[in-house]
């Protein structure tokens, strides 16, 4: 008997007391949020909670989005900016930085040497201050938001879900998914929180609200 068969038969033996009439797929629960943790001001809550994770959050009208991205880049003195395929061109600000497209794919060394990356998001979560990437158009491969030291996320206000259950329902499990809550951090040394270990040390979130 191979390991697969022996593990499965051990499980079946261990569960011989479970009546055959009990259906394994009949989930005993209805999922989803039964209590509203977000309140009426979903966008405001998202901005506050993300800022509590030491992300830099600004709220701007769509006409001001490119300028907000430019300010974030200028603040850190960016010299090179990675722009993923599918990122809206009108949101890429001109400035003293060079632009790197990921076509053909950048090498790990090129990404490691880049200063910043700007992306859109798939959705966001107000209650936890989280942005969620499914690495589709405008978001790029997973490493694009990992190696450069600054990550700028442009979030449309209507993309912000109130809570974790709503956000998960908007995500496609067949895509790679990355949920980001603040910059990279550790609390491993005496439980002192330190931002910036291996991932980006700076996270900027530009919330675009519009009429």
């Amino acid at each position: 008997m191979n390991d697969r068969d022996s593990v499965l038969s051990a499980i079946r033996g261990a569960l011989s007391g479970v009546p055959g009439s009990e259906s394994p797929d009949a989930s005993p629960l209805s999922h989803g949020r039964r209590v509203d943790h977000a309140g009426p001001d979903v966008v405001g809550l998202f901005a506050r909670r993300a800022a509590e994770y030491r992300a830099t959050v600004v709220r701007v009208p769509s006409a001001g989005a490119a300028a907000a991205v430019a300010r974030a880049l200028a603040r850190t003195g960016t010299r090179s900016l990675v722009v993923p395929p599918g990122f809206p061109e009108d949101l890429v600000p001109a400035g003293p930085w060079s632009l790197l497209a990921d076509v053909p794919p950048l090498t790990v060394g090129q990404l490691d040497a880049a200063d910043a990356v700007v992306t859109t998001v798939a959705t966001a979560v107000a209650v936890t201050g989280t942005v969620a990437l499914d690495h589709g158009p405008g978001q790029g491969r997973r490493v694009l938001t990992l190696l450069p030291d600054q990550h700028i996320c442009v979030v449309r206000a209507d993309q912000i879900a109130p809570d974790v259950p709503e956000a998960l329902r908007l995500l496609d499990p067949n895509r790679p998914l990355t949920l980001v809550s603040g910059p990279s951090a550790t609390s491993d040394i005496e439980l002192d929180r330190v931002e910036g270990v291996h991932g980006p040390r700076t996270l900027d979130i530009v919330v675009v609200e519009d009429a």
């Binding site: 390991d3 697969r4 022996s6 593990v7 499965l8 051990a10 499980i11 079946r12 033996g13 261990a14 569960l15 479970v18 394994p24 797929d25 989930s27 005993p28 629960l29 999922h31 989803g32 949020r33 039964r34 209590v35 943790h37 909670r49 060394g109 490691d112 979560v125 209650v127 936890t128 201050g129 989280t130 690495h135 491969r141 997973r142 990992l146 974790v164 259950p165 329902r169 499990p173 067949n174 790679p176 998914l177 990355t178 949920l179 809550s181 910059p183 990279s184 951090a185 550790t186 609390s187 491993d188 040394i189 005496e190 439980l191 330190v194 910036g196 270990v197 291996h198 991932g199 980006p200």
Partner: protein
């Protein structure tokens, strides 16, 4: 399938002895007290933000209970979904088989080093040691695990494995060891956590960038979609999960969830229970392989290693619901004073005291179910409502039973219990013993307390005085003061009659 050696470091020395050493270390106790108090307060604050917290716990417990009752079904669904998404699923009945699978997979790539995401399952099977025996070097990339690995040390907490180390100890370890493993510690390294984290970043970056193979654990895997989830903070997990060409994930069979939708409950409970955050900085979810993004080869190793034996015990089974948040450690008065090393296993604290004896067989870890005051704080804190005190008591009975089976002569405890049973079964004997005790104890007592007791009671009395029994027992007092009149209480009359 279980054995004494499938949870590394088990049982030497046994808990009471190891705990005594830990208790004598004031630095360790101070570190632990500060750390557990901090994380306890944070957890309480963020759990209180969700008014349906108790409902979420109940839902999580129900999902876990239901999944475990149909574990074979959900694992087969998971296998099918992962395979359909381009992954390869392997099954391992025990630690040796899992290590053999991972070693073969690494060797097939031609590589001699791997980067690792912090994982309890790979610690449990001693993967790093097995890889080293095969000439493969495994680099831990979580900051705390790095501190532990460089220090030649053992993890002492599920979530923050280097909790027993303070900043100056960490600086010394970095200065002494980093150069042996790769990029040395920077000149003038201070004890500031920011500085130490930066040193770890520089040390590991070159390893991430050149790594071709990574090994991870899994926090969850969803059977309907084949999605695997890793929750972390530093980004080292994301590095390992996306940069290498080959990713090998080792996952205990109990980590499967029926559906992707179930994640909403657990992603609300886990970060709040473990680090006291609303959400951890990074959560990575992947389903098989994705063209042009991340590893080209994905292997999922499903690990039994004592879990099916645990599943067979209907009381003990609930320990398999554990999501490794470590909330139970941080509220446990025993853990707070002894630290994790005393438990002699990769799973310390209350959950370790119920999980380890089941994974290895209770006769091989007989002292662990007793490493608790049964205060119940762990049950209150557990986000999936594992009734740890219930399992502890259940395993204590099994430990006593195992010892009785193995010994030719009864233990002193068994003799005392037998004598106590004989006394308590007979009102006449009980009354006689009570009179004797009340009289005898007055001869040895000082100021109403009794100090050291002889023989088998010595260990009990070494840390506490025994109060002197009352001059008169309740039963004697009742008989004396309730003198029956005609037709009065039958109880009293019967009691008197029996005497």
């Amino acid at each position: 399938m279980s054995g004494a050696d499938n949870v590394v470091w088990l049982g030497t020395p046994a808990f009471p002895e190891a705990a005594r050493t830990a208790l004598a270390d004031p630095q360790l106790r101070a570190n632990l007290r500060r750390a557990t108090a901090t994380i306890r307060d944070r957890r309480l604050a963020v759990a209180a933000e969700l008014e349906d917290w108790e409902e979420l716990r109940e839902t999580a417990a129900t999902i876990k209970r239901h999944t475990l009752r149909h574990l074979d079904h959900h694992l087969l669904r998971l296998e099918k979904a992962v395979t359909a998404a381009g992954g390869v699923v392997h099954w391992a009945a025990d630690a040796a088989e899992a290590n053999r699978i991972v070693t073969c997979l690494v060797k097939a790539t031609g590589e001699s080093e791997v980067v690792k995401v912090k994982s309890m399952a790979t610690q449990e099977i001693g993967l790093n040691e097995a890889l080293a025996d095969a000439g493969i070097r495994a680099y831990e990339t979580d900051l705390a695990e790095l501190i532990v690995q460089l220090g030649g040390d053992r993890p002492s907490h599920i979530l923050v494995p280097a909790i027993h180390r303070n900043r100056s100890e960490i600086r010394e370890i970095f200065r002494r060891e980093m150069g042996e493993w790769g990029a040395p510690a920077p000149e003038g390294l201070t004890t500031e956590p920011r500085d130490l984290a930066e040193a770890a970043r520089l040390h590991l970056r070159e390893k991430f960038l050149r790594a071709k193979v990574a090994v991870s654990g899994a926090n969850f895997a969803t059977a309907d979609t084949g999605t695997v989830v890793v929750v972390e903070s530093e980004g080292n997990g994301r590095m390992c999960l996306t940069l290498p060409e080959t990713l090998i994930t080792v996952m205990g069979i109990e980590k499967v969830l029926p559906s992707f939708a179930d994640l909403d409950v657990f992603l609300q409970l886990l970060p709040r229970s473990s680090t006291g955050e609303r959400m951890n900085p990074y959560t990575s979810l992947w389903t098989g392989i994705t063209d042009g993004d991340g590893p080209r080869n994905f292997h999922l190793v499903l690990l039994d290693n004592g879990r099916t034996a645990t599943l067979a015990d209907e009381v003990g089974r609930q320990a398999l619901a554990c999501i490794r948040c470590s909330a139970c450690l941080n509220v446990c008065p025993v853990y707070e004073r002894t630290g994790g090393h005393a438990y002699g296993s990769v799973y310390p604290g209350p959950i370790g005291a119920v999980l380890t004896p089941q994974l290895v067989g209770v006769e091989n870890a007989a002292s662990l179910p007793f490493a608790s005051t049964l205060c119940g704080a762990c049950y209150d804190a557990c986000p999936v409502k594992i009734n740890i005190p219930e399992v502890l008591v259940h395993l204590r009975a099994e430990a006593v039973e195992a010892e009785r089976r193995d010994r030719l002569l009864p233990t002193s405890e068994a003799i005392v219990m037998k004598a106590a049973a004989a006394v308590l079964n007979s009102p006449r004997r009980l009354a006689a013993v009570q009179r004797l005790a009340a009289f005898g104890s007055r001869l040895v007592a000082r100021d109403g307390r009794i100090g050291a007791l002889p023989g088998p009671f010595a260990r009990w009395s070494a840390t506490r005085d025994t109060p002197v029994p009352a001059r008169e027992s309740l039963r004697a007092w009742w008989l004396r003061t309730r003198t029956p009149t005609n037709g009065d209480s039958r109880t009293t009359a019967e009691g008197k009659g029996r005497r």
